[in-house]
């Protein structure tokens, strides 16, 4: 098991190196290598998680190690889909190291099998977790795209065409990709939250229990809803949309980590050390 995760991390790290080589040397072959290494890593990762699932008999979100592993897995998967769809090659420079870091942190935490918890054996829970994580992975990418947008826009506005100007794509492509990320993220988050409500109703008998994580997830949802609303009505795009994508992801990070460690609630169960 440990060795499996180790191999996955090696793949992700090599992919990161590939993407950075692409960034600096601008040879397409590095980008392709990076992409395929990430695909390889993702396949191993999928196998590792699947193995874990079968071995323990329940969805592996039992401790912080497993949760982070799922986070890395969804970011890698969502990135691969977006890369395939939008050909935003340079985004790998953000996604590959992000996945690597998440996995390295995951590996740092002990992976002791937690006491079996029956509430984890529910389809709604699996849907809830996977959908929310895919949504949040999309938001993570939207944040990365937003950062690239700000870099590129700064280069164009300040008329200093340095390192990034040549390497980054057009503002238009960055903007549409970011929008697609947020749209996907929002749809998945909404779906995931609904699944969570259904599950909560089944387990605790109520949809909403004012758990801190629930509150912060609600805030996140409202923020992205506002962003999408503004885009559709008055055409919030470009710089402002990029900044909002970054702020939104900061709040998600807080919801994910801060709430777990600083505040109490029933979600804390899943991220115990």
């Amino acid at each position: 098991m440990e060795i499996f995760i180790f191999i996955v991390i090696i793949f992700y790290l090599l992919s990161t190196i590939g993407y950075f080589a692409y960034l600096f040397l601008q040879k397409d072959v590095f980008q392709q290598t990076g992409f395929y290494l990430l695909v390889a890593g993702f396949c191993c990762h999928t196998a590792a998680i699947g193995f874990r699932f079968i071995q323990s008999g329940h969805f592996p979100v039992n401790n912080l190690h497993e949760v982070l592993s799922i986070v890395g897995w969804t970011i890698a998967g969502v990135f691969l889909v977006f890369q395939y769809r939008f050909q935003l090659k340079v985004l790998g420079v953000y996604a590959a190291p992000l996945v690597s870091i998440v996995m390295v942190i995951a590996a740092k935490f002990p992976n002791a099998p937690h006491q079996m918890n029956n509430i984890l054996n529910n389809l709604w829970l699996v849907v809830h977790v996977v959908a929310v994580f895919i949504g949040e992975a999309s938001f993570a990418l939207a944040c990365g795209v937003g950062l690239l947008y700000l870099l590129q826009e700064h280069a164009i506005k300040s008329k200093k065409h340095g390192f990034f100007f040549r390497r980054l794509p057009s503002l238009e492509l960055l903007d549409t990709t970011g929008y697609a990320c947020i749209l996907t993220g929002f749809a998945m988050l909404t779906f995931g939250l609904i699944a969570g409500f259904v599950y909560a109703k089944a387990v605790w008998g109520r949809f909403w229990s004012w758990d801190p994580k629930e509150i912060w997830s609600g805030i996140t949802w409202l923020l992205y809803a506002a962003l999408l609303h503004q885009r559709l009505t008055v055409g919030w795009r470009g710089r402002r949309a990029a900044i909002m994508a970054i702020i939104g992801f900061a709040i998600i990070l807080f919801t994910f980590l801060g709430v777990n460690f600083l505040l109490q609630g029933h979600h804390g169960e899943f991220t115990k050390l």
Binding site: Q152, K157, K159, L171, E172, V234, R237
Partner: protein, 422 residues
Amino acid sequence: MLDIVLMGLNHKTAPVTLRECLAFSEDETSVALKVFQESPAITEAMLISTCNRVEVLMATRDTSNAADTVKVFFSEFKNLPVSEFEKSLYIHEGDNAVRHVFRVASSLDSMVVGEPQILGQIKTAYQIAISKKTSGVLLNKLLHRTFFVAKRVRSETGIGDHAVSISYAAVELGRKIFGTFEGKKVLLIGAGEMAELAVEHLIRNRAGDILVANRTFKNGVALARRFKGQAIRFEEITGFLEHVDIIISSTGSPDYVVTRDQVKGIIRRRRNRPLFFIDIAVPRDIDPGINRLTNSYVYDIDDLKGIVDENMEDRNREAIKGERIVDEAVISFRHWFESLDVIPTIVELRNKMEDIAKGEIKKTLQTLKHLSNDDHEAIGRMTNAMIKKILHDPTLLLKSNGHHQNKSVYLDATRKLFKLDE
């Protein structure tokens, strides 16, 4: 022995007035080639004439005689005393001539390094030489190598990347904002060479509707017709800002034609779609304050010049890589050239024959076990004699001087017939 010689002048050695006087049209080039063909000193010839250079590339046995022929011809044909242009002429021989041709075709010797036209011009010049039958084995090989080298330099270095003209730099910049120009509307305010060129670039890149605003409506209509666009009145500009994406301005107006307040009010109505202003006018037409508004970008002529300078530096850096490719090619061309020499060809030819004979004897003797050692030697002697007799006449022909005009044709044919180059 034939040698490759290049003689000519270019933008570095001769002022434009002189280059103008010596420029050759295509018809004149044909005439010149005919004259060179008749000269006993020149075996093969080709003439390259562009606005930046006039060069004669030739294969000759007698460099100084050939050079004089060309000089005299230039002087008579163009009615110019030799002393007028002699100082501007350069003469390259052998490797240096080869290197020069490679560098010119790869656009390393151009006024604007990396400009793509020169290769086409050389191809045309070569076509003329072929049609006049003034190019032979040497020039054919050299030119084919040249096209190959030029292509390599272009694809393996960034020598042709990034715009080095103001109007093209603006278009490239637009691509970083919009990605593609498809469906993007362009508004041209005023008129002017650079501005119109930029519009043409945009049209070629599939930009959408073109609008033209001019203080004199009639002029605007004429210009709009050229771009298959629509003319609008100068006072209507504000209203149209809502619909266009790229604004190119080049008027003689002393004040700003488009002000910050004008644009500010319109951004919301545009639903924040980006606006790109290209200001080619001096004094400026577009309020630079617009650049600080959200999703609006303003580039004036100095900004664009800055980009062009930067790109130029980039090209010069890339040119160093190009020089390395050229150096390699010069060396490999010299190998081929040297192989055209008679002795090595004859030796290689004999070696090849002997190898074949040896192989066949070995095969045959394996089946004829009853033969004695003396018999073996006799068969060996016989095959050697046959090789000698077979090669006698070809060797004589290759070695003889003067019997035929161009020895390299025969050498090249021999090497090809017997596949000696593999």
